[in-house]
């Protein structure tokens, strides 16, 4: 039992609702009985009415708490509103009994009428909306099941050849734990949201209010599968966004079952329901004290995802760890997927400890001072996907060691001195996704021409004629100095430029004297 303070009191109290609600029902019936049978018992009635008001309040408050502390399918709101109406009416009855005798009987009749739908919707929540009609409908429903599915019913087992693949019904055991763990809380024997239950193969075949969920002819079109494949954001996605989703392995298992492919039941541990395999809870022992040891040593322990299955350890300014702290790392080891150990000396035994963490995927050793530069201590890191060695200094043999790591996808070697270490020897070929230095900028493909504005404000001629008006020469034919665009004249259908107004004047007087200085 959890400590008192950890109990969810709203829930604990709310769960008395199903018990309490029967009191007002009984009292209302009793009060109505007294009137119908014309039994004169005014004092008894008054007393019962008080009891009615109190018990209705009790039922109302517990019902509200229950609704607040856990989610219920839709008729819950109707049930709630009707319940509140009944609460009001029961208080009204007390008042009418005292002051407005003639109204009392009518009020009582109204309460009896209201009671029926209130109770019905309430019962739908616990027994499923179909509960009342099921005895009539069950026969029709089974008749509706498509023949192809019926033939796969366990009853037909005898007809199947002995060496044939087992029918979906037989293989239902392979997915039952998944459905039980992920779906049955809302679609189970007790709660049947949307009329759907997934606790047995028969129930699964029956489908929900909106039709069957299995399509024997085209499994890919099965509602069960389609809903699962919808994007998480979609409101029809199942399980709902805020609930636990199926893992990849579970989805694959379900798919194999649906499509009739051979499959074996998942190991019990991989179909973890919250109660079976609690997520690695940082606040429980021994993880809590291991975390404490590390955090006191200046290590940040961060969950890598909500369920705390995966942890990241980040060292910031910490000394190499003593025996206690190493033991703490070992305690947390199954969950440690990432280690940041940046900018400090790394003794080889310590690197070996890190490398032997069974789940370690990412190791950041940037700016670290390595004891053995050939990285031999990294050898046990079989699960390592990425290692960062930027601005370290690694030596000969290190690249081969990295290439030997079976899972390694990427290494960051920028500034690690590997080129120098391998100078003069043949370099092992490195995978293209490894980062070994700064990447070149991307190339310019084209440049737009210089910006020229075409505007109705500008005189048309400038824009149109300017190409023709540029000078054919670059040096002034008179002085030999560079030309100035402002001084130009047309000579023999060519534009000649000059360095100044004087030169232009001189040229104009006697062009022949300068003809030799003109370009051909």
């Amino acid at each position: 039992m959890p400590p008192l303070a950890a109990v969810n009191w709203m829930d604990a109290i709310g769960r008395w609702h199903p018990l309490l609600l029967h009191m007002p029902i009984g009292l209302l019936v009793a009060l109505a009985w007294l009137r119908v049978m014309r039994i004169e018992a005014r004092r008894a009635e008054r007393s019962l009415l008080w009891l009615l008001v109190l018990s209705t309040w009790g039922a109302g408050v517990t019902g509200w708490l229950l609704h607040e502390s856990s989610a219920y399918p839709d008729p819950v709101h109707l049930h709630e509103y009707l319940g509140i109406a009944l609460l009001g009416l029961s208080m009204g009855l007390l008042w009418m009994h005292r002051f407005r005798q003639p109204w009392y009987a009518k009020g009582l009749a109204l309460a009896m009428v209201l009671l029926v739908p209130t109770a019905h919707f309430g019962a739908s929540l616990t027994h499923g909306p179909e509960f009342l009609w099921e005895p009539w409908q069950a026969q029709e429903k089974i008749d509706e099941v498509p023949e192809s599915v019926v033939s796969q019913d366990p009853a037909d087992e005898g007809f199947a050849p002995e060496n044939a693949t087992p029918s979906p019904a037989q293989r239902f055991a392979h997915v039952a734990p998944i459905l039980e763990a992920r779906c049955a809380r809302c679609h189970g024997e007790r709660k049947r949201k949307g009329g759907l239950a997934l606790h047995s193969f028969e129930a699964l075949q029956r489908g929900g209010d909106s039709g069957p969920v299995l399509d024997a002819l085209d499994p890919a079109q099965s509602e069960l599968w389609l809903r699962l494949q919808l994007p998480l954001e979609d409101e029809d996605h199942m399980p709902p966004k805020n609930k636990r989703q199926l893992s990849a392995a579970e989805q694959e298992q379900l798919r194999a079952w649906l499509f009739g492919e051979p499959s074996t039941p998942l190991a019990p541990s991989s179909v973890a329901t919250p109660s079976q395999a609690p997520p690695l809870d940082l606040e429980s022992e021994p993880y809590s004290s291991a975390r404490g040891v590390l955090e006191r040593a200046g290590v940040v322990v961060v969950p890598a995802a909500e369920e705390h299955h995966q942890l990241m350890l980040a060292w910031d300014g910490a000394e190499p760890l003593d025996a206690d702290q190493q033991a703490a790392v070992q305690t947390l080891a199954p969950a440690v997927v990432e280690v940041r150990f940046v900018g400090r000396p790394v003794p080889s035994p310590w690197l070996e400890t890190l490398a032997s963490l069974p789940a370690l995927q990412r190791l950041d050793l940037s700016r670290c001072e390595l004891e053995h530069t050939d990285l031999r201590a990294l050898q046990p890191a079989a699960s390592l996907l990425e290692v960062r060695l930027a601005r370290t200094s690694i030596g000969r043999g290190a690249l081969e060691r990295l290439l030997d790591l079976p899972q390694l996808d990427r290494a960051v070697l920028t500034g690690s001195g590997w080129r120098e270490a391998y100078a003069g020897t043949s370099l092992p070929e490195l995978p293209p996704q490894w980062i070994v230095g700064v990447r070149e900028p991307t190339t310019a493909l084209e440049q737009e021409p210089p910006v020229v504005f075409e505007s109705d404000r500008e005189p048309e001629t400038t824009a149109q004629d300017s190409p023709n008006l540029s000078a054919v020469n670059t040096l002034c034919p008179v002085t030999g100095r560079p030309i100035d665009g402002d001084y130009r004249m047309v000579f023999e259908e060519q534009v000649i430029g000059f360095c100044c107004a004087q030169c232009l004047g001189r040229f104009a007087k006697d062009p022949e004297a300068y003809r030799s200085a003109l370009p051909d």
């Binding site: 400590p3 008192l4 303070a5 950890a6 109990v7 969810n8 009191w9 709203m10 109290i13 954001e233 966004k241 805020n242 940082l282 606040e283 404490g292 955090e295 200046g298 940040v300 961060v302 969950p303 890598a304 995802a305 909500e306 705390h308 995966q310 990241m312 980040a314 910031d316 300014g317 940041r340 940046v342 940037s366 990425e386 960062r388 930027a390 601005r391 990427r410 960051v412 920028t414 500034g415 980062i435 230095g437 700064v438 990447r439 900028p441 991307t442 190339t443 310019a444 493909l445 084209e446 440049q447 737009e448 021409p449 910006v451 020229v452 504005f453 075409e454 505007s455 109705d456 404000r457």
Partner: protein, 481 residues
């Protein structure tokens, strides 16, 4: 008192106190009862992501004053033929303007003065203006969103909106939500750091509350690191004070605080205690952080000549990379001076020269250290600028007014799809015609990459639940790799 989980547990609000119910009131008096204070409460944000994150941190490069998208990234060559023509009413559609141009007799189209170049990316190339050649050079690393839009038309509300998800002040800023939801990866530095660079153009006010924690605990507010001898104000011990004296003093004060905390459950006392410890550790970590002497020549050169001048955008970009390496969750850079109502060509030249090389260097530097994949670099202003000129339009000069309907933002790294251009504006760069992205959408997408469901990072305050994205925001899956 340095364990973040137990610190979180000390949070006692009236709601939670009453929520315990009368039965456990007695138990409340002892410290053992604190375990129950964190009763199943779905509103409680976790010091853990909701799902496996792509990115571990965000570097936000905010161009304060709003740079002109038309002169940098939103290439509209067709406008060159429309110089000084009136902006058609069918484009403006009677949109409300700021008081600065609403009195103008006409709205003449001002095409960009700057040449654009098409850089290779993973699509058919990205057009970037001559003002940002280095940024063009990383076009294959960028997710260039040309279809951002915002709700506010003035700086103050628009920056507040961009930083806090709401145009009115009082909400926690993006970085504070990060710090609150994910905690820090380095306990020697704050998880949210702010760096400010002064610009060269028309400058707007920069309020401290742009990085405030709003109704979140004060420890989640951004910590400003300044240029110069005293990077964090009041951090240094007075001359002559020994570090062990400081420690002894802190221990005594903490003991008293702890006693007070046990009696009054005031979360501000817990904040004060955490902050004192943080400051003590920062006395060691900050000098090491801002000491750029460990950086080699090649690195400094990459960021350009300004990098040696503290406080410049270049120096702050390098500092941002150093903060990223050290595990800071949210690094907010502000570059001031983009508010070019007049003399835009001159101002934007100076502004762009100051940011272009450093911001490209930051992305390439993160990339070469293997950090870009887990770091989101976000670049953008609070809104865009108008296609029509504010004030006199000539071939050499023009100004542009505020324009919330369309602007450009880019993101690099952190699992965003590199080398794409997303969204499109009309021929005037005025309205979005394809795949708009709102500020809430951007926030939701960034949070998603940090492993956070934006609908579930919640804080209850004044009787309602608050989110960074308020009541909207969609994760833009198209932007993600």
């Amino acid at each position: 008192m340095t364990d973040p989980l137990s610190e979180r547990r000390l949070w006692l609000t009236r709601r939670r106190f009453l929520g315990l119910g009368a039965a456990s009131l007695g138990a409340c008096m002892g410290k053992a009862a604190f375990a129950g204070l964190r009763a199943p409460d779905a509103d409680d944000a976790l010091l853990a992501p909701h799902f496996a994150p792509q990115a571990k941190r965000i570097i936000s490069l905010h161009m304060e004053g709003a740079p002109s998208q038309l002169d940098l990234f939103d290439y509209k060559p067709g406008l060159r033929q429309r110089f000084d023509q009136d902006l058609p009413d069918s484009i403006r559609q009677g949109q409300r303007l700021t008081g600065m141009t609403s009195g103008q007799a006409r709205f003449p189209v001002a095409p960009s003065l700057f040449r654009f170049t098409r850089y290779a990316n993973r699509q058919d190339g990205a057009w970037v203006s001559e003002l940002m050649p280095y940024t063009g050079g990383i076009a294959d690393r960028l997710t260039l969103v040309r279809s951002m839009h915002t709700d506010a038309i003035n700086h103050e509300p628009a920056i507040t909106f961009f930083q806090t998800g709401h145009p009115q002040p009082g909400r926690p800023s993006f970085g504070s939500w990060m710090s609150y939801g994910l905690g820090s990866l380095n306990r020697n530095l704050p998880s949210f750091v702010v760096l400010i660079s002064q610009g060269f153009g028309n400058t707007q006010a920069l309020s401290e509350r742009f990085w405030g924690s709003g109704f979140l605990d004060g420890q989640h507010a951004g910590c400003k690191i300044r240029a110069g001898a005293d990077p964090v104000l009041f951090l240094k011990d007075p001359a002559g004070m020994q570090r062990q004296d400081r420690r002894a003093m802190l221990d005594l004060v903490q003991a008293l605080n702890e006693q007070e905390q046990r009696e009054h459950f005031d979360p501000n006392i817990a904040t004060r205690m955490t902050q004192a410890e943080m400051a003590y550790r920062m006395q060691m970590s900050v000098p090491e952080l801002v000491d750029l002497s460990q950086e080699d020549e090649a690195t400094l050169e990459m960021y350009g000549p300004d990098v040696r001048k503290p406080g410049t955008f270049a120096a702050n970009c390098l500092l941002a990379r150093r903060l990223a390496e050290r595990g800071v969750r949210y690094i907010q850079l502000f570059m001031r001076g983009w508010d070019a109502h007049a003399n835009l060509p001159k101002e934007i030249r100076d502004q762009s020269r100051a940011v272009d090389q450093p911001q490209a260097a930051l992305v390439r530097d993160l990339e070469r250290l293997g950090l870009l994949d887990e770091t989101l670099v976000v670049w953008g202003g609070e809104f865009g600028r108008t296609v029509y000129s504010q004030g006199t339009l000539t071939h050499e000069n023009y100004g542009r007014d505020h324009h919330p309907r369309a602007f450009t933002v880019w993101v690099a790294g952190g699992g965003f799809q590199p080398g794409i251009v997303y969204g499109e504006t009309d021929d005037f760069g005025y309205n979005i015609v394809d795949r708009p992205v709102s500020v809430h959408d951007l926030h939701a997408t960034l949070l998603h990459q940090m492993g956070i469901d934006h609908e579930r990072l919640i804080f209850r305050h004044q009787g309602r639940k608050y989110r960074l994205t308020d009541v909207s925001g969609h994760v833009m899956k198209d932007l993600l790799a």
